[in-house]
Symmetry: C2
């Protein structure tokens, strides 16, 4: 089986974006603030938005199952206050849940949280609980910068974040560390803001001792870990300078990288440098890069081709495709086993 | 000849740091503000600080010449106002000039600028002129984020920066795009802030059309280009999404990457992905990572070993070591030729 641990609902029916625009307008003009129940979307509409997009490509590429979360760039936690984020997160999570009900063999949900800049992350727990207990979510996306490019929250090793970590450990779910849209004109959302956040999340974990407090906490760092594998020597050297243990002891029991790296040389580096146990197959399809690479004639984001092209043993390939995901996402494994998969 | 395009004076005598501490204290207590002339440093002290550190390692490693600029993390443009930055930049640039006079065969200076957040970069021109015309500087370091991690300046493609670019083109000097210390607790200066800035600088250039306005402008993006070569497919795909030309046409006439990547797999990726014309040898020694890699028994920052270990043709190696630097830094080439080198 091939499991893609990183998919977002980027193709939701237009009504979602329209509702969100009304919500954003409603921040300044409360009389126009829409209710959640104003958003109507039929199962047929949802079905078509998936069938003709993600599922079509999954079938073409031979991907069996996607861990599916709300569109990352639309989380936009910096817009409005906690109430705005809370309503929006509930809507987006419900949609991913509906996708998972419509396509139970192909999609399993991961939750966005109703984060809001300056607000205690503990406020996210009720949504998290609902998503795990009622919607069968197997993971969360945690935004280390809900300000959207101002980086005003404390680093991930600070106690500020501990309420979320405690619940993650209780449920035995990992978090993908994933920022959202940048509202800082210096940063392009999917070009550098995402990659920078990945690198920063890793370095925050390197600097702190978070995993001493939470030995079972697990973070998935998307987009191939940002700059980290390319600069693995630098980070090993910095761990030495900072008197930390070797990275494999300090971090690799808890941190995993996905394969959203859109060319063969990048995947070759990732699989050469990072232990196979720490690599999870993913494509973030349909996402930031939707075109066809003129050098290969294939989609940039068809990352399975790069994994197939990497010089790794078949057993290792299977770990990247399936085994590691089952280990890092135990609720996914349990859900699959319950179906005899 | 082997030219290292990226060295900082990280080993200056203690008096420099002491003077800077007094200057910073003087921002709040102006009565205690030191004069530039209060800083006394003998040629012998400077000589020893170089001879026993950078020059010793250059000799051990077989590096002939270093383009030498003030310590990047000490630029700290976010501290104080323009007057503070101006005095500090003048001091630091004078020291690098003195190093180049004491070791004319081994060091040639590049200038830091007296940037200050919110201040027009045109204010940096007099220092730049002095450094080029009187001190023989062959390049500048340009900080795209003088706020130190708040990213409050406009992107590099904005007209805000044009006065500096106009002077660079007039003098035919490149800029290394290099941030300084992060005052944002989210970012570790040499761990992620540097790499993120590299990635961001590249993406800003990709987003804008700066090199249409300045076809001869040249940027060196340090630390192997941050995350860029590892994600070269992503950036090629984003250029496509943004309707930009192919990266080699859009950016590679103007952007160059150094080799400050501290392990063999990283250099192998860099030399595999980026055209050889765009790679400049560098080590940033003595810098962020000073230890010995337990996996190789060699210094992490001994990047010459990785270039030697890369599967590239000898002629390409010589371009990385020397030829490209002479092309990208014409004033360096002229200074060398004037000495018959």
């Amino acid at each position: 089986m091939i499991i893609d641990v990183h998919g977002h609902y980027t193709t939701a029916p237009k009504a979602l974006e329209t509702w969100r625009a009304r919500q954003i307008a409603g921040i300044k003009s409360p009389a126009g603030m829409p209710k959640a129940s104003d958003l109507r979307m039929s199962d047929d509409e949802i079905h078509e938005s998936i069938e003709t997009n993600q599922l079509r490509l999954m079938r073409e590429r031979g991907i069996d199952l996607t861990i599916f979360s709300p569109r990352a760039s639309f989380m936009a936690h910096h817009i409005g206050d906690f109430a705005v984020s809370s309503t929006w997160a509930a809507i987006c999570n419900e949609l991913c849940f509906r996708v998972s009900r419509l396509f139970p063999d192909h999609f399993i949900p991961a939750a966005m949280l109703p984060q809001s800049p300056g607000v205690d992350p503990a406020t996210c727990i009720p949504e998290l609980v609902k998503c795990v207990e009622q919607y069968g979510n197997v993971a969360i996306n945690l935004n280390p910068d809900p300000s959207g490019g101002l980086w005003s929250s404390p680093p991930l090793y600070e106690r500020h974040w501990y309420p979320v970590y405690e619940k993650m450990v209780e449920y035995d779910i990992p978090a993908m560390i994933h920022v959202s849209t940048s509202c800082n004109s210096c940063f392009h959302t999917t070009g550098d803001h995402y990659l920078n956040a990945d690198t920063t999340a890793f370095m925050q974990c390197l600097t702190g001792d978070l995993f001493s407090d939470f030995p079972k906490l697990r973070f998935v760092i998307p987009h191939g870990g940002g700059a980290v594998p390319y600069h693995w020597g630098r980070f090993r050297g910095l761990a030495d300078m900072l008197k930390k243990p070797l990275l494999r002891d300090h971090l690799l029991g808890n941190i995993f990288f996905d394969t959203c790296v859109y060319h063969q040389p990048g995947i070759d580096l990732l699989t050469r440098v990072i232990p196979v146990e720490n690599i999870l197959f993913a494509s973030e399809m349909i996402g930031a890069v939707r075109g066809i690479d003129p050098e290969t004639g294939q989609y940039f984001d068809d990352t399975k081709r790069y994994i197939e092209g990497a010089r790794i043993e078949p057993t290792h390939r299977q770990m990247i495709y399936e085994g590691n995901a089952r280990r890092v996402y135990p609720r996914l494994d349990a859900a699959l086993k319950a179906k005899g998969r």
